[in-house]
């Protein structure tokens, strides 16, 4: 299969501190990869850099999506090229209602692709089934983005946005954190419904339990700003059993 995402020798600095120092990663089209690693290993930094957060400084390296240089694009153009980040901590935006944001985002992306924007009626039809899948109540559309939502509702809202925008590359940053088992199942069902040969996913997670529900094609261990190990789904179970110390110890020796 063709490579969708290619990260080469990525170095990233945040406030003069080097967080990533030489990440190499390739995700073929249609595959789901997981990035695991201890706290502070740079997992979230990688996710944010993919989405284009500006306070992260890329000092060297490249990120290519379908051969296109992502680092040259502002966040909105990355989104239109097909990148979607499900935020670890989705923020509340008072006064901006969910329906408005969802429709503005969808139509911005459609317009950029040369498609016709959709009207309110079509939008309602499109969002309804996706809300049912994510078990999000109807009144949600008229509420402000994430305002007054529980932690679990915020995460489900991120996945709902992802379902609507149907990205080419979905990056989920600890979407499992803070979820109980039932909410985790809902989120996993949403994510699995999007798996397709034309779509790739990068799951950033701390825990193996998400990967029991969304089984990845590859698992990578990020430690000390670099990928130290890669393997199949069994690597996640090994990490769950043994912790991260042995990877870090190996990294220190190499």
């Amino acid at each position: 299969m063709s490579t969708m995402l290619k990260i080469e020798n990525l170095h990233v600095r945040v406030a003069a501190r080097e967080i990533l120092n030489g990440v190499d990663l390739e995700i073929p089209s249609g595959e789901v990869h997981a990035i695991m690693g201890p706290n502070g290993s740079g997992k979230s930094t990688l996710a944010q850099v993919l989405a284009g957060r500006e306070d992260y400084e890329v000092t060297s390296g490249r990120i290519l999506l379908d051969g296109q240089d992502l680092l040259a694009l502002p966040p909105e153009e990355r989104a239109r090229a097909g990148v979607f980040l499900a935020f670890q901590y989705p923020i509340e935006i008072p006064g901006v209602n969910n329906a408005y944001l969802l429709k503005a985002a969808l139509n911005a992306q459609k317009t950029a692709r040369g498609e016709q924007p959709i009207d309110a009626f079509e939008f309602m039809k499109l969002i309804k089934t996706k809300m049912e899948l994510m078990q999000i109540p109807k009144d949600f559309l008229n509420r402000s983005v994430n305002q007054g939502f529980s932690g679990g509702e915020k995460k489900r809202n991120e996945v709902l946005q992802m379902l609507l925008l149907a990205p080419r590359l979905a990056v989920l940053d600890e979407t499992d954190s803070g979820l109980d088992v039932d909410a985790l199942k809902i989120v996993a069902a949403g994510v699995n419904s999007l798996r397709s040969p034309a779509r790739s996913m990068l799951l950033v997670t701390h825990y193996e339990r998400l990967l029991e529900l969304i089984v990845p094609d590859r698992v990578h261990v990020l430690a000390g700003g670099r990928i130290r190990r890669s393997g199949g789904p069994e690597l996640a179970r090994e990490l769950d059993a043994r912790g991260y110390d042995w990877v870090q110890a190996e990294a220190a020796r190499s």
Binding site: E54, E76, F84, I93, P94, G95, A105, A108, L165
Partner: protein, 436 residues
């Protein structure tokens, strides 16, 4: 050096005053008081940020004649262009004169009485007529002296007017007019009234509109007064609203400022008896040389009174906003709930806001919360919207509109709120599109 309009007015004394002989004593007293108090200058704390010197130095006609047919036609066109509704009850004043042919309000048997403000000046029991102290509000004294016909509205006990009354103040395009507009509203016990005060220009000009609105509310009455100021960008606008509330009376007062070059709004609310409550809010948009100053004062004079005040400003390039909000809790006023907030969004390095919340508390058993913020759009909010594919300019517009419209939520009738929200969004878009 030639004497200015105001110097000449003061020197001429009562001989220069308009109105009937019956109203002359009230007018003359106000003029004399103004002479003693003097005109406001920036050396007075209350006028520190707003310099009215251009007014004192200019030539103005303080008591314009009643509008001619051409002015009335221009006013009618302006009302249509600004979307002032004609289907509900409305009263229209052009340059301070009531123009019956533009109004649609027939008080008939509604229990609402509409009279000439002259009658208010002249009434025998004029306890409060012209009694606004010139030392506190010099422009109000000038208004008392020179106001033309104006409107005196009285709503009888327990009368509830279901539809909002549109009170439309039009400034004509005639050169150098300074109409002094007076509105008096008296609500009887248990009366209910909603007023939307539209302030518009027939033609943008260098004129000055000085409006004084006096409200007295009897026990248990309810007033909603929303003022939408949409002057052209050359006009000076000054206003004073005084509201006195008796037991359990409540008022919702909203100030939306979209236009004008130099704007000063004074609001003075007195919660005189237990159970009185006021909700006071405002939104100012300023850019391109606009200066908008909101000065408010709320006096808690009795126990168990409540005030909830929230003003917001969105300031673009070369705009300036001022907020000064004073809340005074008087001795013996127990069980007080007073909230105040002032939040401002600066869209440019060349935008300025001066904000000063003031609390004076001379009582215990008081629940007070106040705060003010000045800032730019939240970078996290912007990134979130952009990460969904929304262009930066659109993301800024969405967030700016959300900030501003949060205040408009306080306008209760949806039919009043929605058209105002559209006007606010339109003006915000223009301000946002300026080079920052």
């Amino acid at each position: 050096m030639t004497a200015t309009t105001l110097e000449r007015a003061l020197a001429a004394g009562r001989d220069s005053l308009p109105g009937s002989p019956a109203s002359r004593p009230s007018r003359a007293a106000a003029l004399a008081e103004l002479g003693t108090a003097g005109l406001p200058t920036t050396s007075r704390e209350n006028w520190r940020y707003t310099d009215l010197k251009p007014l004192w130095e200019a030539e103005f006609e303080l008591a314009p004649r009643a509008p001619d047919a051409a002015s009335i036609r221009a006013a009618a066109q302006a009302l249509a262009a600004q979307g002032v509704p004609a289907d509900g009850p409305r009263l229209v004043l052009v340059d301070g004169h009531v123009v019956p042919e533009l109004g649609t309000f027939d008080p008939g048997a509604t229990g609402v009485e509409v009279r000439d403000v002259e009658a208010y000046w002249a009434r025998a029991d004029a306890k409060s007529a012209g009694r606004i102290a010139a030392a506190d509000h010099p422009l109000a004294a000038l208004n008392t002296a020179y106001a033309q016909s104006g409107v005196w509205l009285r709503v009888a006990d327990d009368v509830r007017l279901a539809e909002p009354l549109r009170l439309v103040l039009v400034a004509s395009g005639a050169a150098k007019l300074a109409p002094q507009v007076r509105v008096v509203v008296e609500l009887g016990r248990g009366a209910e009234l909603t007023i939307v005060q539209h302030v518009v220009d027939a033609v943008d000009s260098d004129g000055w509109l000085n409006v004084v609105t006096e409200v007295e509310q009897a026990a248990g009455s309810r007033l909603a007064l929303y003022r939408v100021q949409e002057h052209g960008r050359r006009r000076v606008h000054t206003s004073l609203l005084t509201v006195g509330l008796a037991a359990r009376a409540s008022a919702a007062l909203g100030f939306i400022d979209l236009g004008g070059r130099l704007v000063r709004n004074d609001v003075d609310v007195k919660l005189r008896e237990p159970g009185a409550a006021v909700e006071l809010f405002g939104l100012l948009l300023a850019a391109e040389g606009q200066h908008v100053d909101d000065h408010t004062r709320i006096d808690h004079l009795a126990p168990d009174t409540r005030s909830d005040e929230a003003f917001r400003g969105v300031i673009g390039r070369r705009g300036r906003g001022v907020f000064n909000g004073k809340v005074v809790v008087h001795p013996g006023a127990r069980g007080i709930d007073a909230r105040q907030s002032n939040d401002n969004l600066l869209l440019s390095d060349q935008a300025e806001i001066d904000t000063k919340p003031e609390l004076e508390i001379y009582s215990d058993d008081v629940k007070c919360a106040h705060g003010s913020t000045v800032g730019e759009l939240d970078a996290e909010h912007l990134f979130y919207l952009r990460s969904r594919g929304v262009a930066e300019a659109q993301a800024r517009e969405i967030l700016t509109t959300a900030f501003a419209t949060a205040v408009l939520e306080r306008i209760a009738p949806p039919g009043v709120r929605a058209p105002i929200a559209v006007k606010v969004a339109t003006r915000l878009r223009a301000i946002s599109e300026l080079p920052q």
